[in-house]
C-alpha cells in the first residue's frame, strides 16, 4: 500500500486489528434471560455488541476485549463471563 500524503487515512482499516485476541474472559449471552433492553450494546466501549433480527444482542468476538462491562451492567444477569480457552 502506497503511503498516503500527510499521514491520512480513510476508515475501514481499523477493523484489521482484531482486538478479540486481547480477551481473557469471554461474555456469553443467554437469550433466555434477556429482556432486550440493549444496555449491553449501549455500554460496550468497543461498539461490538450488535442486535440480531429477533432483537437479541450478540457480541462480535472478533473485537470484544472481554472487559465485562456488559455482564456487570446487564439488569437481567443474562451475560456470564467465562474464561477464554486459548
Amino acid at each position: 500500500m502506497a503511503l498516503a500524503t500527510g499521514c491520512r487515512a480513510r476508515p475501514g482499516k481499523s477493523r484489521d486489528n482484531k482486538t478479540g485476541s486481547w480477551r481473557v474472559f469471554k461474555p456469553v449471552f443467554d437469550h433466555e434471560k434477556c429482556s432486550k433492553c440493549g444496555m449491553c450494546q449501549t455500554l460496550c466501549p468497543e461498539g461490538c455488541v450488535h442486535e440480531d433480527a429477533e432483537g437479541f444482542f450478540n457480541p462480535d468476538y472478533d473485537y470484544c476485549k472481554g472487559c465485562g462491562i456488559c455482564a456487570e451492567e446487564c439488569p437481567k444477569e443474562a451475560i456470564a463471563m467465562k474464561q477464554e480457552e486459548k
Binding site: L3, T5, G6, C7, R8, R10, P11
Partner: protein, 385 residues
Amino acid sequence: MLEITEGSHAVAEAVRLCRPQVVSAYPITPQTHIVEALADFVANGKLDAEYITVENELSALSACVGASAAGSRAYSATTSQGLMLMAEVVFNAAGMRLPIVMSIANRAMGAPLSIWNDMQDSISLRDAGWLHFYAEDNQEATDLHFLAFKVAEDPSVQLPVFVCFDGFILSHTYEPVDILTQEQADKFLPAFAPAEKLDAKDPISFGMYATPEYYLEFRYETNEAQKRAKDAIVKYGKEFGALFGRDYSAFIESYRLDDAETAIVAMGSMCGTIKDAIDEMRDDGMKVGLLRIRVFRPFPIEEVAKALTHVKRIAVLDKNVSLGSRGGATAIEVRDALYGSTIPVKGYILGLGGRDIRKKDIKEIVSLCEKGIGDQFYGLRKELI
C-alpha cells in the same frame, strides 16, 4: 501597474489578490501593518475572507491548519518571537502537508529583546519542512506570495511556504511596486481545490500518528516533496514571467558573477546594497560578483555549486548565526554545496538585530575575504568586547 507604497501594504495587496478564504494572524512588530491592512480589507469588503483574531501566534497557525484541512486557502503572517511560539505548529503544518502560506517580516530573536531585523527567526525553522523564499525588494516580496500559493498547492508538492522579507528594511519602506490586477492574479492562481479535505461526504482522518514502521517513510516523502517543489518553482516561476514579465524560475540570482574572482553569497534586502557596492568595486577594477539565494528551502545545492565553480574565494554573508558552529546557515549550506571543492568559503555574521549594513561594510568584507580572514562576526564594536 507600478505604484509607490509601503512594503507591508504591497504584501497585503498581494495576499488579498490571492483570495485567501481564512486569514488568521496575531499582531507583532514589524509584521503588524500587513495584518492591519488585511483586517481593513475584510472590514471594507475588499477581501471576502474570514479574519480570525486569535489570541496568540500558536493559535494563528493552528487555525490555518484547521482551515486548510477543511479545504480553504489559509494565510498567516508573523515574525520572530511569534514564529517561535508557533514552532510546534510549523512542523505540524508541513508534516500534515497543508499548503499554508505565511509571510515572515524577518526579525531578530530574543534575548536580548530586539524588534529589529535579521533572519534568525525563519532560518531557525529551516528544518520544519516549509519552503523558504527570501525577497530582495518589495517587488519580490509581493510577487513571491502568488508563487508561494501556486507551488504550495501543487498536488506534487502540498507543502507550506514562508515568504520572507526583511522586517522594517522592506516591510516599512515605501518604494515602487508593480501590483497585479485581480484579473491577472486569478489567471495565475486558480481557486484552491485540494484533492482531500475534511468533509462528511468522504470522511478522512488527518494527522494520524505513525509508528516506527511508517514514520521514516513519511519524513522521506516530505523531503521528496521538497525536491518536487523545485520543479514546481521552475514551472510556475516561468509561467509568472511569461504572464507578467518577472521570471521567478531561478532559485539563485547571479550579479556580475561570470568573471568574478570573489563571490559574495547572501540573501534578502542586503543584496541591493551589495550590488551597489559591487558596481563601485568593479569601477575600481575588482572582480567581485554576487550570488543571491532566493529559494533557501529546497536548497539549490547543484545550482549554487555550479554558479561558484570558477571563483577563487567566497564570502558568505549571514544575518543569522548557528551559535556554537562555524557560522551562519547560508555559509554552512554553501560549504555543503561545494563539498570536495578547494575554493575557500569564508562566513561573515553581520547585521544582527538591525545593525545597518553599508556599502563600505561589503567592501571591507571583500577585502577580509581576499586576505583569507573570515568565519567571524563582522562589524563588532571592539570597545564593547
